[in-house]
Symmetry: C2
């Protein structure tokens, strides 16, 4: 191992603080199983880049993206807030000494007993998108601040959004009214433009739709004061991703133009905060051809869809891969994971280019994998251990 | 909780030994998180049903389906063999006192050091489908018995098979030849008809294709003696699944008709051995409508695609769900998991019928879930703990 991440990256520096830290560490270590290496300085750098663009907006890190202890501690030290999806995540924050006023409970699907636990812990800000959820919050966290999540329809994000979260615009008014009548404090609206939304311009339609509902609610006298713009800030996967500070600055301009200059803004970045700060060190298990006249080789790695690369489902997220043979001739490959499961195939519809000399035992680095990898990993599917995480 | 599984099941008894064991246990217990309850007697019963149909064939349980210790112990006591997908699974078997001669290493993608470990442990039967894998086996397990896995193309199984495993028929001869030249003992062929193949007749085409290659190899003097028919035996998910003994008996007849009466037969059932023996006790987190005029409710459970129900991907496996309100009026629902992930939706294209009165806190039993659930579960996505398993 003598190539570094910065060598592989070539013309594309991936994070501001010190691109050689990860590279140096990876170049000097071997691992006996797939390992995600996270760079704490890169996480801090991403927070600062985003905060510089978001200005006075509150940042609540969507900790589901990567709940590794050291990542949370780093962001806590930077002054970041936290968006929790469950009691488990809240308990993790509290155990690290993060104060309850920096935590929001942003899942619109919460167990009653978990709402009650959050309330008792001092958490005062909750998401909801339905009558029943508001009733549960009113019963278990009386008087809490709530924001209503709105469904914004089709977006242009890389990782698709379904209709799972949010209510249709026609329900917002009655939910705000119900919240108030239940003794809650309905402070605003939230939405999600879709994970890995590559350009600020892709936010415009969504912001227009939300602003229309917002102003109608204000005209009804709801006195909203918080707009939660969710996540969607992209990691540098693929070409042409703008710098995070510029990206965030443009979003804030677009938000203020629609919601007013004194609206309170909250953001819930996950991927953008941690993806670039992580590289997975994996290994080739096997290279084969199915038939003597196959154009594509099959390359099997020691990591797959069930051990960390869940976001390759339907080939949605296309990770950049590098090896130590990338200066050799390249050819197309179908890439698959190591398990005995047929669906554990990473890229087949659009094969990836890999060195022609690639063979069993070669190291493969999978870049920009600090988000939605380690926590998605299965407990032990096919007897493979979960993705290991090392923080430097 | 006073309804039992047998009440819910109505006219469809699900397993032979004692259908009320699981039902009685579930009716008298509550769980504070999603829990898979496995019935050891039902597992033993399934093994006996299958063995009665398979006759003298060796049965190697595909332990990836459910590697719970008590399940393995039960099958070991019944005389079952084990098919392992990784070093982790081999170590688990050995730790339970299962002897190496009852274990095969059936993954065609193996780390060299794991082959070496298996060989040193006394395991002598390996799968391969490529030149490089044979070379790895010859180097790390010299003289081992190997079978060549063949790609059999499109099948009619519920859980789809990709081209991930197996070589094309045109490569079988050269792989058998290579194995012999490397000092290995190429004993036969294997294939997989596809998981959850609902009727014996669906095996015919595949068996014809494999038999053609087999007889060509015999004519070349390869002296094959083992046909590994893989898995594919169905669990009783959906309607019209034949009794396992009858099903297996028909398969054996079809195999002997094509491969001869004295061929050694090996089978690797996973799902059929354990699926029926498990029920997941889950809970409704939220019932909502997205819009005032929505026809479908959204029902959110405390278990989803990342916490055990991975096989609902693309709505492939449709589990039977029961509640205590099933005597009430029913209506269509979109079913989703509890995480903040948009793709964590179970059934949307074909909604499921659920009671109109269903509400947060209600118990939902998810039947025939003993296979490919607990081991697929993520380590803690969104802060939710992995699926708990209780064996009775």
């Amino acid at each position: 191992m003598n190539a570094t991440v910065s060598d592989f990256a070539g013309l594309k520096p991936r994070f501001a603080p010190n691109p050689s830290r990860l590279g140096h560490f990876l170049a000097t270590r071997t691992f006996d199983r797939p390992t995600l290496v996270m760079d704490r300085e890169a996480v801090a750098g991403k927070f600062r880049d985003l905060a510089a663009g978001l200005g006075t907006a509150m940042i609540h890190y969507a900790m589901k993206a990567n709940p590794t202890r050291e990542v949370l501690e780093t962001l806590c030290d930077e002054g970041c807030g936290f968006d929790a999806a469950s009691r488990g995540e809240i308990e993790l924050c509290l155990s690290l000494g993060i104060s309850a006023d920096r935590i929001s409970f942003g899942n619109t699907i919460k167990r009653s007993s978990d709402i009650s636990f959050a309330h008792a812990s001092g958490i005062a800000l909750f998401a909801a998108d339905s009558d029943e959820e508001l009733e549960k919050i009113a019963l278990n966290a009386p008087g809490a601040r709530v924001y209503i999540r709105m469904l914004v329809g089709a977006t242009e994000a890389d990782w698709p959004l379904s209709r799972k979260f949010g209510c249709a615009p026609d329900r917002v008014h009655s939910l705000l009214f119900l919240a108030r009548s239940l003794g809650l404090d309905p402070v605003g609206l939230s939405f999600h433009v879709g994970s890995q939304t590559r350009a600020p311009a892709m936010w415009a339609d969504t912001l227009d739709r939300v602003a229309k509902v917002w102003h109608a609610a204000q005209a009804e006298g709801h006195g909203l004061r918080l707009i939660n713009i969710g996540g969607g800030f992209p990691a540098t996967i693929g070409e042409g991703i703008p710098h995070l500070t510029d990206y965030a600055g443009q979003i804030i301009q677009m938000v203020r133009a629609r919601f007013g200059s004194d609206v309170e803004i909250m953001a819930e970045p996950g991927r953008a905060m941690v993806a670039d700060a992580g590289v997975i060190a994996a290994e080739v298990m096997l290279v084969s051809r199915k038939s003597d006249n196959d154009l594509c080789r099959w390359v099997y790695l020691d990591i797959g869809r069930f051990s960390g690369l869940a976001e390759t489902e339907n080939e949605a997220i296309r990770y950049e891969l590098t090896t130590e043979r990338d200066h050799e001739g390249m050819g197309p490959c179908i890439l698959a994971g190591p398990s005995c499961d047929s669906v554990d195939v990473l890229y087949e519809k659009r094969p990836v280019m890999m060195p022609l000399g690639l063979k069993s035992g070669d190291r493969v680095l999978i870049h920009v994998t600090g988000a939605y990898t380690s926590a998605y990993s299965s407990v032990g599917f096919n007897g493979f251990p979960p993705l290991d995480v090392v923080v430097i």
